[in-house]
Amino acid sequence: MKHALEYRDGRLARQLAARIAAETTGDCAGYRFMEFCGGHTHAISRYGLEDLLPPPVRLIHGPGCPVCVLPVARIDTAIRLAERNGITLCTYGDLMRVPGSRGVSLLRAKAGGADVRMIYSALDAIAIARAEPQRQVVLFAIGFETTTPPTALAVRLAVERGLKNFTVFCNHVLTPAAIQNILESPDLREFGRVRLDGFIGPAHVSTVIGSEPYAFFAEEFAKPVVIAGFEPLDVLQAVLMLIRQVNEGRHEVENEYGRAVRLEGNEGAKRDVAEVFELRKTFEWRGLGQVPYSALRLKGRYGEFDAERRFALSDAPAREVPGCQCGAVLRGVKTPLECRLFGSVCTPETPMGSCMVSPEGACSAYWTYKRFRAMAARETAA
């Protein structure tokens, strides 16, 4: 704990903020940085970091929130599955409240009689499958590279124990593919709706995949990347390192999170994932649409543990709540305040889109921590 507190020291923060202010040249508007991860979005809002940054520095929230990027169609499929007789759907807590296309969430489905259980770890689902052999237990697996190794472990345990009633509804997605998609998007390239001058790179994801995968973007798109931890001083330090790269015309991958991230990442975790999963040709992301080679599914030899195969699942066309701007928010094109639903019909109690559900979602972070600013801004505009 002492170790974590060292990264939240207000005195050091003010020193860093002063250095950031001194090194941002007033005439340069080139300090628009996207924090890819919802973990960073959350830290920025929770600690009020934007109050410490001078006006030329803008932070743009990226799509790195696993609950947020899951498209409505996948939620619908999970709900339809959970409503079948004999199925027990195990899910992480946040997912329960994400509305599907009929406005029904897993929480509502549960209240209506579906057997939906909230779990804290993939291994909880294995425990349920062992304890209740008469149920077909499905793990609703979501997340970036951080949560994939535990799912791989759960599958391997299911193999070892010969579990016939355990499957995975796999929605694991990949960070580098999403970053590339953003950098190649028309918003950036054709319409210039977003300008990005650099990335604050993922913290936990990078502990698994390492810093090496980002080298391509830094080089190909000439954007600096600084991998940063989720503590507030990490974020400030990363901003300073990005500013220096911009000022010096560099575009390199730098690692602020050296205490946890190595160049090659976690070889053991990567091996486990490679053993169990293979790339999907394409996968739909909320906000980004179809992104090639951006998600994982179980390999053929683990097919019996794949819920999509065992239960012949297919996604039906789905639609977002009309007016919901989650997609634009996830691409960094709009801020939550530019969505007309924000704070009127869409609140954490009655979320219309996924970005209001997860604490890592930009809308939830704005609502929970920054609403007072939002109200002030709207009053000024009106």
Binding site: A17, S45, D51, E360, F372
Partner: protein
């Protein structure tokens, strides 16, 4: 009818069955051999379906609360002591001294009598220690699976001395917000014993009766004490937002001033929780006019249950009724209500 009219309950290996709630011999046996000895007092001994008592001068305060906690036993307490402390504290927050309690039990078929005895004894001990008595009660048994071991409802009655008016509508801008001690001890102690979460911690629940601390606060602050509340479910964040709504004002608090034990901070870090939202069972927040705040703070710190008390912020004019916090880090953020349950992070 003497207690000896029935054979002894098997308090070692016996279990609650449906007959214990059926109004017959088995129920009388349970009440006579388990509840009465634990709660023993002159009102129960009379054996009526109600308790009659005199109440001395002042206004009466009444409150009721249901306890459905899981697990039933946790470091620093159990559902029994909690059911006494929680209700006493709701009474005390009006500046009242608690007098009488009722206890209503909903038992699940199959619940071990040994555990029930442990809970009921703990409840009796807690009531006596706080100078109150459980004077009437009720027992129901539901089929297995229809409850989670034991649910307890307690109702409490207390008396506020004349001239004391502690109520949320008296909160106004300028009031100092005083917190009686560290946040999150109870929630973390309980979560550490949840079967799906188990983790190692030396935290014990702060569950405690606060009426004596309240007495000292009122003695020191008198009419300058405008309102008090105990931040239980939803934590300090929920309590401050409730009061901001009810009082029609905003709040500004300082993160650096809020006491949180290292073990609680560490557990919250691990689980992705925020101590501001974690439950407490032996803490209160007092809203006191500025002039009297230092005196009240001093009185709180001289009481064992308030030795870590701190002024954490103040009430401000704000039509939006927002609770805002200056972070340790120097930035500003809102402290919102909790949406749903606070959940561990998944990424």
């Amino acid at each position: 009818m003497s207690r000896r009219a029935f054979p002894a309950l098997d308090l070692r290996a016996g279990r609650v069955d449906l007959s214990h709630g059926a109004g017959g011999r088995a129920m009388a046996q349970l009440i006579g051999q388990l509840f009465h000895p634990a709660f023993d007092n002159e009102w129960l001994r009379r054996g009526n379906d109600q308790a009659a008592f005199d109440v001395d001068g002042g206004r009466m305060v009444m409150t009721t609360d249901g306890y459905v906690i899981s697990p039933l036993f946790f470091p620093g307490g159990d559902i029994g002591s909690l059911a006494v402390h929680g209700t006493i504290n709701d009474i005390a927050m009006a500046g009242a001294s608690p007098r009488y309690l009722s206890a209503s039990f909903i038992l699940e078929e199959g619940f071990p009598l040994a555990q029930l005895e442990r809970i009921v004894r703990s409840m009796g001990d807690a009531a006596r220690a706080a100078g109150t008595a459980v004077v009437t009660g009720d027992t129901k048994v539901v089929e297995r699976g229809k409850a989670d071991g034991v649910f307890i409802c307690t109702t409490g009655i207390g008396v506020v001395p004349r001239g004391i008016e502690i109520s949320v509508e008296r909160v106004r801008p300028g009031d100092q917000i005083i917190l009686s001690g560290s946040l999150g001890d109870h929630g973390v102690a309980v979560m550490s014993r949840r079967h799906d979460l188990q983790f190692e911690t030396d935290m014990v629940s702060d569950s405690a009766p606060l009426h004596e601390l309240v007495r000292d606060i009122v003695a020191a602050g008198g009419p300058a004490v405008h309102a008090m509340r105990d931040p239980t479910r939803g934590g300090l964040a929920a309590t401050l937002n409730e009061i901001a709504q009810q009082a029609g004002a905003g709040m500004r608090i300082r993160e650096a001033a809020i006491p949180v034990k290292t073990a609680v901070a560490a557990a919250c870090e691990l689980l992705g929780l925020d101590p501001l939202y974690v439950a407490n069972e032996g803490k209160l927040v007092a809203f006191v006019s500025k002039a009297a705040a230092a005196g009240v703070l001093g009185a709180m710190r001289s009481h064992p249950l308030g030795q870590d008390a701190a002024i954490i912020g103040e009430v401000v004019p704000d039509a939006q009724r927002f609770v805002q916090m200056t972070t340790d880090f120097g930035g500003e953020r809102m402290v919102d209500w909790l949406a749903g349950e606070q959940l561990p992070r998944i990424c």
